[in-house]
């Protein structure tokens, strides 16, 4: 190349070019770096997921719009991320079918394809307990991508699903050999086998080379690294749908197969640890529902006394995050701000107290979607108003 550069380009192990400053000269006086095979993130941008041994949370407070960058999509694994050679990986569909079949990635890609922008949320996506919590810590197990793949209904027709089939087992090729039982109706309705995520192949953390994707349903059911689907007349009662992903409700009962994600929203700006100044503030956040479209997001800037309609960024898609925004002029007084969403079924996001009333004080930790309130302090600091988990 003919360009001389005062910034160094290093190639990382995966061939990604990395921009690194050698000096702090005026950038208009230094010829820049060359175009590359793979783009970079600015070295000045520090936005990362928050990993534990079993999950990694998306930095919701850093996001713009409604797409999650694929490498910042939340993670939740039960046996780590497998390394799968797509040439050696197949999907077998069998059980109550006329004609059991196996499909390679190449086979799946030959079928008619479909793309949709939709969120994926882990049903265990709720943390509270102290004032110094970020949106990432409270609700970072939700992310949104454009998913592309083949409709499961297309494959159901190919194998000839029998009328007695009411459930199917979805099984992953990871070390947990993850399994969930899914009603066949969801397979006919809108399930897809996704091999594309935000324009590129599904990332390893999200199920490369392909995964089940169940729009609007709790993340665990969208089994990653899918290797097998077995059609059956009854659910399989796997560990993930009995010991886990079930939740205590009133009267000592435990709810199972609670797939739908209830409508939820969270203000991501302003939030802890940001702080604000007097004057105009654009309150921003994300809202979603697993039961369809968001129809309304309301914001309260007076601790829930009154609520105002927030702006919603179009397009508003089915079972998708929407970005909401609300203009507020802060007068410098202490207050609390919060948001609540209403979906097309007429469901409005409840308070934590309403959830306790509905499910009982022993309620389980899944499918918690309460209104998140932020305290605004006189000096502009923003703190979570934590919920009293066990009173």
């Amino acid at each position: 190349g003919m360009l001389t550069t005062a910034v160094a380009i290093t190639q990382s192990a995966n061939g990604q070019a990395i921009q690194k400053g050698l000096n702090d000269e005026d950038p208009t006086k230094v010829t820049g770096t060359l175009p590359a095979e793979v783009g970079t993130r600015s070295p000045f941008v520090k936005s990362v997921k928050k990993p534990s041994d079993i999950s990694s949370r998306s930095p919701l407070q850093d996001f713009y719009g409604f797409i999650t960058p694929s490498d910042l999509h939340f993670e939740r694994h039960h046996g780590g991320i497998p390394l799968i050679d797509p040439q050696k990986h197949e999907l077998i569909i069998h059980g109550l079918v006329e004609k059991p079949l196996k499909f390679s990635l190449a086979d799946l890609k030959r079928f008619p394809s479909v793309s949709r922008i939709a969120f994926l949320e882990c049903s265990g996506n709720f943390r509270t307990g102290k004032e110094t919590m970020t949106p990432q810590e409270i609700a970072g197990l939700t992310s949104q991508s454009e998913w592309t793949g083949v409709k499961l209904s297309t494959l159901f027709r190919e194998v000839g699903v029998k009328p007695q089939a009411k459930w199917f087992l979805a099984e992953g090729g990871d070390s947990a050999v993850m399994t969930r039982s899914i009603p066949v109706a969801k397979g006919w309705e809108d399930a897809i086998i996704a091999y594309g995520q935000n324009g590129e192949p599904v990332r390893p953390e999200q199920g490369f080379p392909f995964r089940l994707f169940l729009p609007g349903w709790e993340g665990n059911a969208s089994v990653k690294w899918l290797r097998r689907i077995e059609l059956s007349d009854e659910p399989f009662m796997t560990r993930e749908e009995t010991s886990k992903y079930t939740e205590a409700i009133k009267d000592g009962k435990i709810r199972m197969f609670s797939f739908d994600i209830d409508a939820r929203s969270i203000i991501t700006f302003p939030s802890f640890p940001q702080s604000i100044e007097k004057g105009w503030i654009e309150i921003k956040g994300l809202a979603w529902s697993g039961r369809g479209k968001v129809v309304k997001v309301e914001v309260s800037t007076n601790a829930g006394k009154t609520w105002q309609i927030a702006d919603i960024q179009e397009p508003v898609l089915d079972k998708a995050h929407v970005r909401f925004r609300y203009l507020w002029k802060w007068n410098g007084e202490e207050t609390e701000i919060m948001s609540r969403v209403t979906d097309e079924t007429g469901y409005t996001q409840p308070t934590f107290q309403q959830l306790v009333e509905a499910r009982g004080s022993e309620m389980g930790g899944y499918h918690l979607n309460p209104i998140t309130a932020w305290q605004i302090k006189k000096d502009g600091r923003v703190l979570l108003k934590p919920e009293n988990l066990r009173s």
Binding site: R110, P112, K151, E158, V177, E230, T238, R239
Partner: protein, 165 residues
């Protein structure tokens, strides 16, 4: 319409026929009916030995807790919030066999023989006070075991709409 109907009615013929042998190799699930259970049988006393060799590091002595979580119901009054365990939570006994075979031990998944899994299942059922030390667990007896918490489980009653559930 933006999408043609033809897409959802055509048969495409991609993919290849799969033989029963190929299916059997990965069809490892076990249902509450017992479907999928292999030949063999287990007893708690044998399972205890295997557990102490391969499981105790993560699940503690007697399965009462550790990095991998508790598997056995404890009545220890010092433990305020009871951990969900096989004894106090799991609705089906077949799930033990299915899960242990597919996923445990965590650091050597898929390494256990069917025989070992039967013994471990018997051990975990006994340790949780569900079966007798001498009870034999096999494809016939396992599905018949009544789990203490079975009746607590109810289907999802949330429907959307204004009601919070």
């Amino acid at each position: 319409p933006l999408v043609s109907i033809q897409r959802d009615s055509t048969l495409y013929g991609f993919g290849r026929a799969v033989t029963q042998t190929e299916i059997d190799k990965i069809d490892i699930d076990v249902s509450p009916s017992g479907r999928g259970l292999p030949q063999g049988k287990g007893i708690a006393t044998e399972g205890k030995k295997i557990f102490e060799a391969k499981c105790v590091a993560c699940h503690g002595i007697g399965g009462t807790g550790g990095l991998g979580g508790a598997l056995v119901t404890t009545n220890d009054p010092k433990i305020k919030k009871k951990e969900k365990t096989i004894g106090n939570y799991w609705p089906y006994a077949t799930t033990i066999f299915d899960y242990v075979r597919r996923a445990m031990p965590f650091n050597q998944p898929g390494s256990l023989s069917n025989q070992e899994v039967y013994h471990l299942t018997a051990y975990l059922l006994h340790a949780n006070g569900i079966i007798d030390e001498k009870k034999t667990i096999d494809a016939q007896t396992l599905p018949k075991i009544e789990m203490p918490n079975h009746k607590a489980f109810v289907p999802d009653d949330r429907t959307g709409g204004p009601i919070i559930r």
